[in-house]
Symmetry: C2
């Protein structure tokens, strides 16, 4: 039985009879092949990438595992359609908080149609794509007080400026009520999710090392998904407790091109900018913790 | 006595009664303040940068030293005009080979006029700016056979694709006749100019480290100048011989903006792409040298 994914935060949503991805209860994600050859393009990328021996193993793990294509009943009732079959990257999490960040200072690329170019560059200039080299596309946080997910409103997310993006990245790792926009995000989970040897930052830096040398693919209009479980942090009582399992995954490959011997400077530049935002949050949290400690030490 | 600079390879040239930079015989470079406030903007950048304590000393050395502005007789005969007074970065070289590379995958930036945006993006798409994250703006090589400078034709340079740019970067460090486009560049100077602990690559990597963290300035439409002396390599007979003195300098700051806490991902991405091109050349030269050695060792 296929159903609408609960944890999708951006892209086409399969609700109200629209075409969108589906998931099963075995941890598989079914993504309908998009029209105008983009779907086939994405399938071809997965075929190429999956079997590409030049991609190191430690990089493969940042991509969803691909299981070919399959005809399945489409979410819009239009009958059986070809779908990409992928590992569902959030299966195995109880209440995953998820953020989708589209990387790059442009979403268009050489040789696109004028129409596509104009559509893309307009949105790139309206959002933080041009100014920051990335834009937040959507996110959701598990809210413990409410025991439910809080979703950022799409319209607000696409209207972020630099400060808005910075605030969203802080909010994403905070435990105080996400719904109350008057509260300053407390960044309670920042150290465990963004920091540490297995955290988001460490994973982003590993990706960055690869992007500095890889000339195989240009990842136009791709997103980084950040996923973690905040429940496990709150419940943690000892070293044996489950970790936040913070994970970075790259998704959306309908516009990937051959690198032709040139690095993906568009993705790399945006990734470096994004990394700096994450580093700044970690630094501000470290500074706060130091101040707290020194206050305690001084007997205040 | 001011005269037209002999070693300028891009930008406005002060010849035929046009307005352009001048040099004196004391190693000073006089750049007329450009109209529509760009000149004043560049002067303000130099004022800010020169006194900015947050810029490390080892980074300051990649920028021309600034000596304020001064009224001097303009090259176009229009009388005394304010000029930036800078150290002439090629003074002290006998026969410098020089290349100007404009860094970034766009030369426009947020909040420019539609007219300026359209003009820039058109040229960015026509050149390698979008595809490679940099474009060669011009270069000249000292040709020993001819005992004179060979200059790349501006029209050809602006028409480069990826292969053209790659070839230009090889030609720039070759000793065989630059004028003969049928000859494959021999990259005779690559190891000494691009490689080594003080070479171009080492300098670019030092700049890259800074660009990964600096959020002070966004260097829109800036160029990297590469300068070296090939004569000293050819004449070299011992460790005391003069070195190539390969140097990287950043120039052209009429479009620098405040970073406002965000890294210059546009410059950084382009710089990383440029670095990869230089690394690839060094690697191909190393490989060739290894092959040569193994041929010798095998008695061929």
């Amino acid at each position: 039985m296929l159903k609408v994914p609960e944890h999708q935060v951006a892209g086409h949503i399969a609700s109200d009879g629209k075409l969108g991805p589906l998931v099963d209860d075995q941890g598989r994600f079914f993504k309908p092949l998009q029209g105008d050859s983009r779907g086939e393009h994405e399938a071809k990328f997965y075929e190429s990438f999956t079997s590409n021996k030049k991609v190191p193993d430690h990089i493969h793990r940042y991509f969803p595992v691909y299981h070919g294509t399959q005809l399945v009943e489409a979410s819009d009732g239009s009958g059986k359609l070809p779908h990409l079959v992928l590992d569902d990257v959030v299966s195995g999490y109880s209440n995953p908080s998820v953020m989708d960040v589209k990387i790059g200072s442009r979403t268009w690329y050489p040789d696109v149609s004028e129409e596509y170019f104009k559509k893309c560059i307009k949105k790139d200039r309206q959002t933080t794509t041009v100014s920051l080299g990335f834009r937040v596309s959507g996110f959701k946080i598990f809210d413990h007080q409410e025991s439910s997910f809080w979703r950022a409103e799409k319209k607000l997310v696409l209207g972020y400026n630099a400060d808005g993006a910075r605030l969203a990245l802080r909010k994403f790792v905070s435990s105080n009520s996400p719904a109350d926009s008057n509260l300053t995000p407390n960044c309670a989970f920042a150290s465990e999710v963004y920091g540490g040897s297995n955290g988001i930052l460490a994973q982003l830096l590993e990706l960055k090392d690869w992007f500095e040398i890889q000339t195989l693919y240009h990842f136009n209009s791709c997103s980084i998904l950040m996923i973690y479980e905040n429940e496990s942090i709150l419940m943690k009582e000892g070293d044996d407790a489950p970790a936040a399992r913070a994970q970075v995954k790259l998704v959306d490959f309908a516009h990937v091109l051959d690198g032709n011997g040139v690095i993906d400077h568009n993705f790399l530049g945006g990734l470096c900018s994004f990394i700096k935002f994450i580093k700044d949050i970690l630094q501000s949290v470290d500074k706060r913790d130091e101040t707290d400690t020194s206050l305690l030490e001084n007997g205040h």
